[in-house]
């Protein structure tokens, strides 16, 4: 038995376990946290990384795709990116650790390392289900992150930008964030590689919206060309709360972005938008598990994917409507532009509906650039590559513009056009 397990162990699996053993005594945490970590690592050891035989990982065979794990190392940041939106309150992690003492007016900011040391983090160091490999890896290795508490009724007008910065090596962060009843805020979560070299990053954001909270949460992933980025956004949306969740993937070599969303309060509304810009020899997987679990909730999900070169993209979107979640209205769309013959995108939308009085729908399209549009732009003197970039921009801009906030729209459009300039 033992022999068999070991013979199947990959280099990356072995490196993960070695890395954990090397950090024993060094990772923050009290006794409860240490035993929670040990349990997660044991699971990892016994189950290994998931393969395509595990349905949730069918399109992202992590065991094969994850070749190696760089050693955990100290921060080596050489770049200090400006906040996306001028005037944002900037809070940073460097190589997975919070950067000094931070305070933001109107909200309570704590460090997750403190929660680990005090043991209050222990219950959260658990998996959502048996296929929760990201929860397992992150729970094992997480060192720090920000704990943000938006008090009830707080209306924070300046955006809060969390920058998770890292160089080569490992970085594992967690961000538990709660929005009290009626709180209004915009949070930008950015993942940025600031040096060259390979990084292995995991991150979990654990977000809850109490009654009537209105939140815009934006995830911007701009990892380096050799990085592995395993991320999860866990969300609970309470009564009459509104969450606008926007995810943009514009980097990384191997990316899995999981969105685990529980629409848990009546009258709640989720507006989920995603832009995936894929190029080179990369693999990017966005997996959504969305539960409508009470009556009278609404959601819309739109993903726009652009795939260049030999890149591969995956979207798995599961909407589950519980038995008593009557009057659920959920609409999901996944539209892909394939920009080369070798580009690939697998879209797997799924509905699992137990209630009988609901409106649910999903659609997926795959296309390439409309030749008539390209010709029209070129006939006005716009060179082919520029014209193509304009059309790709148009394809994704539509959902960025929905954000309404002009500064934010401009900043995201700049990320998109910069990416396109490098890849198109």
């Amino acid at each position: 038995m033992n022999m068999q397990t070991q013979s199947r162990q990959t280099a990356a699996e072995a490196a993960l376990l070695d890395s954990y053993n090397a950090q024993i005594g060094e990772l923050p945490g009290n006794g409860a946290v240490i035993s929670a970590r040990d349990r997660l690592v044991d699971d990892l050891k016994n189950n290994g990384l998931p393969t395509r035989r595990v349905e949730a990982w069918h399109y992202t065979d992590l065991k094969t795709l994850l070749r190696n794990i760089p050693a955990s190392g100290p921060a080596a940041s050489v770049r200090n990116p400006a906040p996306l939106v001028e005037g944002a309150a900037l809070i940073k992690t460097q190589q997975g650790e919070v950067d000094g003492n931070v305070s933001v007016e109107g909200i309570v900011v704590g460090s997750y390392a403190d929660m680990l040391r005090e043991g209050t983090a222990a219950p959260g160091l658990s998996v959502i289900d048996k296929d929760d490999t990201i929860g397992r890896i992150n729970g094992s290795f997480v060192r720090d992150g920000y704990v943000l508490e938006f008090p009830a009724g707080a209306e924070i007008s300046q955006p809060i930008e969390i920058q998770a910065l890292h160089g080569a090596g490992q970085a594992h962060t967690r961000f538990p964030v709660s929005f009290g009843a009626g709180a209004k805020a915009t949070v930008i979560e950015r993942h940025i590689q600031t040096t060259d070299g390979q990084a292995f990053v995991s991150s979990v954001s654990d977000i809850s919206l109490e009654d009537g909270a209105e939140v815009t949460w934006i995830v911007v992933q701009e990892q380096g060309a050799d990085d592995t980025h395993l991320a999860q956004v866990r969300v609970r949306v309470g009564d009459n709360a509104k969450l606008r969740l926007f995810v943009i993937n514009a980097g990384g070599k191997l990316v899995r972005q999981e969105l685990r969303i529980d629409v848990a309060g009546e009258g709640a509304d989720l507006q989920l938008r995603g832009v995936n810009l894929l190029g080179g020899d990369t693999h990017t997987d966005v997996t959504l598990v969305l539960g409508h679990n009470v009556p009278n909730t609404t959601s819309t999900e739109i993903f726009r994917n652009v795939v260049f070169d030999r890149a591969r993209g995956v979207f798995q979107g599961m909407i589950k409507v519980a038995l008593d979640a009557q009057k659920t209205d959920a609409r999901m769309a996944c539209n892909t532009l394939l920009m080369s013959d070798d580009a690939e995108f697998a879209a797997k939308p799924e509905l699992e509906i137990f209630a009988d009085d609901v409106q649910c729908g999903h659609g997926a399209t795959v296309a390439d650039i409309d030749d008539n549009h390209l010709y029209y732009l070129m006939a006005r003197g716009i060179p082919r590559s520029k014209a193509r970039a304009m059309l790709v921009n148009a394809f994704v801009a539509e959902i960025v513009e929905e954000l309404e906030d002009e500064a934010l729209v401009e900043a995201l459009e700049a990320i998109i056009s910069n990416w396109l300039e490098k890849h198109a």
Binding site: H373, L377, A379, G381, P383
Partner: protein, 251 residues
């Protein structure tokens, strides 16, 4: 300025020949009208001039200012001053009209080695040209051609032409879909561009437009060939008698 010699062209996809040995010469300063029954190949000819890749030239040549342009792509031809006002302009959702105009003007300038326009200069030019053509500036805030009425699309084409200041202007049924006032405005716009170093090719079915934009030469295109060339009297003759006689004589 333009010399088309024994041009043969077919649809790239299925090989159907549309242009079958076409000859046409248009001199600088000239206004040439091309007329002909539906489906005779007028739009196809204009597409081929602009470099559309759906068509394949199998024989003959197109000389523009003495240079063979068949190897140039549409953007390169546009930068050299060839402009086609489309019979059916396409709607492009997500591309803002103003951004499109600015990129087009500046890319052409870049290709010709000229300095790019500053934003204030650009906006001033667009405002002036739009006012001349009685185009509502609100229309320019919308995505390119999206939701424009038929007539608005045609005006927007002429606006682009006025801004890009091409040397060879091809107008493919710009008159169709225009009301009487708009026809006059558009014709004035075209006439304002007339100059000794510029040529205009007007594709139309109706004399009405030619009352405003008076042609120097009139050519009848039928089954992919120019079967008759004359002066403005030829258009009047067609208006009175239709194509039957001319087609009969050519056969």
């Amino acid at each position: 300025m333009l010399e088309i010699r024994n041009l043969h062209a077919r649809i790239a996809e299925d090989g159907t020949e549309i242009i079958r040995g076409l000859n046409l010469t248009v001199k600088a300063g000239e206004v040439a009208a091309i007329m002909g029954p539906n489906g005779s190949g007028k739009s196809t000819l204009s597409y081929i001039l602009s470099g559309r890749e759906d068509y394949e030239v199998t024989e003959g040549e197109i000389l523009y200012n003495g240079e063979n342009i068949l190897e140039l792509d549409p953007a390169e031809r546009a930068a050299k001053g060839i402009f086609l006002a489309f019979q059916y302009p396409v709607e492009i959702p997500g591309v803002a009209t103003m951004q499109f105009l600015k990129v087009a003007m500046n890319e052409q300038r870049k290709a010709r080695g000229e300095a790019e326009l500053s934003t204030p200069d650009f906006i001033r030019k667009v405002k002036e040209a739009a006012a001349e053509l009685k185009i509502n500036p609100d229309m320019l805030k919308r995505p390119l051609n999206v939701g424009f009425s038929g007539g608005e699309k045609k005006r927007a084409e002429i606006l682009q032409m006025a801004l890009l200041e091409p040397k060879l202007c091809v107008l493919d049924e710009t008159d169709s879909g225009l009301d009487i006032d708009a026809l006059k405005i558009v014709a004035d716009g075209v006439n304002a561009l007339k100059s000794p170093d510029r040529a205009v090719i007007v594709i139309t079915h109706y004399q009405r437009l030619l009352d405003y934009i008076v042609p120097d030469t009139v050519h009848v295109l039928y089954k992919g060939q120019i079967i008759r060339t004359g002066d403005k009297e030829l258009a009047l003759e067609l208006e009175a008698n239709g194509y039957a006689d001319i087609i009969g004589q050519a056969a």
